[in-house]
Amino acid sequence: MRKFTINTKKSNLEPTKEQILRYKNFNELSQNHKKITKRPKKTLYQDPKMFLFLLLLGLIALLLFA
């Protein structure tokens, strides 16, 4: 939530060129994008934790439907 107040101290609310350049970084964005979108190297069942989880899920299903 937000509330507006009158700006009495600063005369201008525009960012400076330096402020903008400080945050402008396409390489960082590109790397983060790769991290988000890249497929996992290991398949799900090759991950030990996931393997156990899938095994447990399979056992529960077996017990329920057997």
Binding site: R2, K3, I6, L13, E14, P15, I20, K24
Partner: protein
């Protein structure tokens, strides 16, 4: 803005958007072109919070990059799509806060609202505070519209593009809001 390859091929914006869908490196040119505009937009919306503006701008471009496949050219400028994402990011940020965030606005920005609400009123401190109270009593979505029109100084066409509505509809929504402020003002 154009993107130049080694062989000096020049791409138009629509070509860059299409190329970005298959290779995200082409998105760099769009990032270069619109970063400043989106940063300014978020910076103003946050009342000058530089660090959060930087984070939200990166987050905006990240979402745009991830969802560029879904982008459809409906005749609105590409920037309006980015503004829409930025608008959502800022609103999510405001919603995530436990306490109210105070956003600074200039006297000049208020002046334009006051002229539309009561042209005979002068910009005294009492009137400014009264007007701020009227605006703060609006719903967040209504505040967004007032902010876009008067504080971000966007045209009705630009607002319509952000909300994916007609220009006439954008005008009507803002005039109704001004009427509501006028009622509270009296």
């Amino acid at each position: 803005m154009f993107y130049k390859k080694k062989n000096k091929t020049v791409y138009s914006e629509s070509e860059l958007i299409e190329l970005s869908k298959s290779n995200h490196q082409y998105f760099g040119a769009l990032y270069e072109k619109y970063f400043d505009t989106i940063f300014r937009f978020i910076f103003k919306r946050l009342g000058g919070d530089e660090t959060v503006s930087g984070d939200l701008t990166q987050q905006t471009f990240m979402k745009a990059m991830v969802n560029i496949q879904k982008y459809e050219d409906r005749g609105f400028p590409f920037s309006s799509w980015l503004f829409r994402i930025a608008q959502n990011e800022v609103n999510l940020f405001f919603r995530s806060l436990k306490n109210n965030k105070t956003v600074d606005i200039n006297e000049n920005q208020l002046k334009s609202v006051l002229e539309d609400v009561d042209s005979s009123a002068s910009m005294t401190i009492e009137n400014q505070e009264k007007l701020i109270q009227c605006i703060n009593s609006l719903e967040p979505e209504q505040m967004d519209l007032i902010e876009l029109r008067f504080f971000q100084e966007m045209s009705f066409q630009e607002i319509a593009a952000i909300y994916d509505i007609t220009e006439a509809n954008a005008k009507m929504r803002i005039y109704r809001l001004l009427e509501r402020i006028q009622k509270n003002w009296k």
